[in-house]
Amino acid sequence: MTALATFFWGWLLGAFLLGFCMGWIAVVHRARGVSKLQMRLLSLLAIALVAASAAHVVPGRFGYWLDLFLVMFALYLVGCAIGSWLRDWVVTRSQPVR
């Protein structure tokens, strides 16, 4: 993983920034969120993919692509979390005290 990060920090930074932006928007976004059930299914899918990656069951290039996706996705999620939390903090601070 460390090696991947040093190889392709650019792409990973891109994924993180993308997540950061998405998180920033998400706080004030009025779009429809995913349902609880969908969220669970997606979580299961993510866990399954992580498990597949950890167990090295996907061979060759597909295995590499899976790893790359999971790392980018993980950084995307981190970016989202930081973005959302920061936006929330900014929004809360700028609101007048009631």
Binding site: M22, G23, M72
Partner: protein
């Protein structure tokens, strides 16, 4: 925390550009990653000795195929690839090279090249042996047909290098090392080569032994060629040592009175016993030929050429006398030189004078026995006498002034008679010769110097 959960339900739209980004990243990076990992894996194996190494990278998975020379080496090579940063997993297709039992290595020399065959334990020793062969053989083509195998005996490299040195001493042949037994066969390049190889094999390390040494020595050759046109006697080949060398050349000088001796002899060990005793009489026989070649090869003496007349040819064919050693073979192919044209008495006298100016008939000291070294000279005189069949020839014996005059007179008569007897035995009619002894009454030189005395001790041929 609740907020984070709430917000996260709205994070999904970003996944679409993320997937596009991932697609681009995967498309553009795969080949780079694979190339990079292949290079790092090869670098990690740089110092590991392997044969037929092949590394292919698929994504981050390395397929590693190679032949290792030991189990430890194999495991450590796989471990080195596994620890290369970025490698996800290693498909281990390594194996050990086959074990040779028995472990056979060979070096074979023929006219054109040296072929190294059999098994070698490591690529390094393979190239080391090839280099050693090139160095030892200077210029001869070296063909490397060695395979790689486990199971070499201890100190294989040093033994193989020692054996390669020996192959340089062979003209053709084969040296085989089977486990720790050495087999040799073939022909040594030079005289003494067989002995040199046997001596070198004593340096084999402990545990090694010579199973069979069938190296043959080249024949011990001595050649002499009497060339009547260039008036030379050319000696080539080998003599056992400098003493025999000097003795042979001196003997040739006495027997070949008019020829210049060209000495191209080399001293070498390996002469058959009785060499000098065989060669000296053989040179004597050659000196009696008008033109001829003497080839002594090991214990075989071959003489071919033309004798001056029939009786001489028969004597030469008959053998080399009582001194010729036992166990030696003598083969003579002697023909008779065509008879020279008859000449008138004046020319005949001139021919006798020319021949006797070059050499004198020599006798045992104080006796009337002609020494064997004078046979060639006498043959020339007999041939000349045959060219003027109608003449009568006075054979005049002379001595120096040393000793009693009466004894000198008797000795000169006996010596003249001995020469006449020799002529008659050669087939000339006795009535053509008149033996006369003059004692010391007709000196050519002063009798007070050794040179002068030597000039006075002589047999003259006077055509009447």
């Amino acid at each position: 925390m609740h907020g984070l959960y709430k917000w996260s339900s709205k994070w999904w739209p970003g996944v679409i550009p993320l997937v596009i980004l991932w697609g681009i990243a995967a498309w553009s990076s795969t080949a780079t990653v694979e190339g990079d990992l292949a290079a790092r894996s090869n670098a990690a194996l740089k110092d590991t000795v392997l044969d037929k190494r092949r590394i292919s990278v698929d994504g981050r998975d390395v397929t590693f195929a190679a032949s290792a020379f030991s189990e430890d080496g194999r495991l450590s090579a796989v471990a080195s690839v596994e620890t290369v940063p970025g490698v996800r997993l290693v498909n281990d297709e390594t194996r050990l090279i086959a074990e040779a039992k028995p472990f056979v290595w060979s070096a074979e020399r023929d006219v054109l090249r040296v072929t190294l065959g059999g098994s070698s334990p490591l690529p390094a020793s393979k190239s080391k042996l090839t280099e050693a062969a090139k160095a030892a053989l200077g210029g001869v083509e070296v063909v490397d047909q060695m395979g790689l195998a486990r199971g070499a005996p201890q100190r294989f490299d040093s033994v193989a290098v020692l054996l390669i040195d020996q192959i340089g001493k062979l003209k053709e042949g084969k040296i085989t090392l089977t486990d720790n037994k050495v087999n040799l066969s073939g022909m040594a390049r030079e005289l003494g080569g067989r002995e040199a190889i046997a001596a070198a094999l004593k340096n084999l390390p402990d545990g090694y032994s010579v199973a069979a040494n069938d190296i043959k020595a080249p024949p011990y050759v001595f050649q002499a060629y009497k060339d009547p046109v260039a008036v030379t006697l050319t000696l080539t080949g080998y003599v056992p040592d400098n003493t025999v060398h000097a003795a042979l050349v001196a003997s040739a000088g006495r027997k070949f009175f008019s020829e210049k001796v060209v000495d191209n002899l080399k001293a070498s060990i390996g002469a058959p016993s009785g060499f000098a005793n065989a060669v000296v009489p053989a040179l004597g026989a050659l000196s009696r030929l008008s033109t001829g070649t003497l080839v002594v090869s090991d214990r075989e003496v071959k003489l071919s050429g033309d004798a001056f007349y029939e009786a001489a040819a028969n004597q030469i064919r008959a053998g080399l006398g009582k001194d010729f050693p036992q166990g030696w073979q003598y083969k003579a192919e002697i023909s008779v030189k065509p008879a020279a044209a008859p000449v008138d008495p004046t020319v005949c006298q001139q021919l006798f004078a020319d021949i006797l100016a070059k050499a004198r008939i020599r006798f045992e000291s104080g006796k009337a026995d002609i020494v064997a070294d004078s046979a060639g000279l006498l043959d020339r005189l007999i041939e000349t006498a045959m060219r003027c069949p109608s003449t009568t020839i006075e054979i005049a014996g002379h001595t120096d002034s040393d000793g009693d005059e009466a004894a000198n007179q008797t000795l000169s008569e006996k010596r003249a008679q001995a020469v006449v007897d020799y002529m008659v035995r050669a087939g000339l009619p006795a009535n053509r010769f008149m033996p006369v002894g003059y004692g010391s009454t007709q000196p050519l030189g002063a009798n007070d110097t050794e040179d002068g005395k030597a000039q006075n001790r002589r047999i003259d041929f006077v055509v009447k």
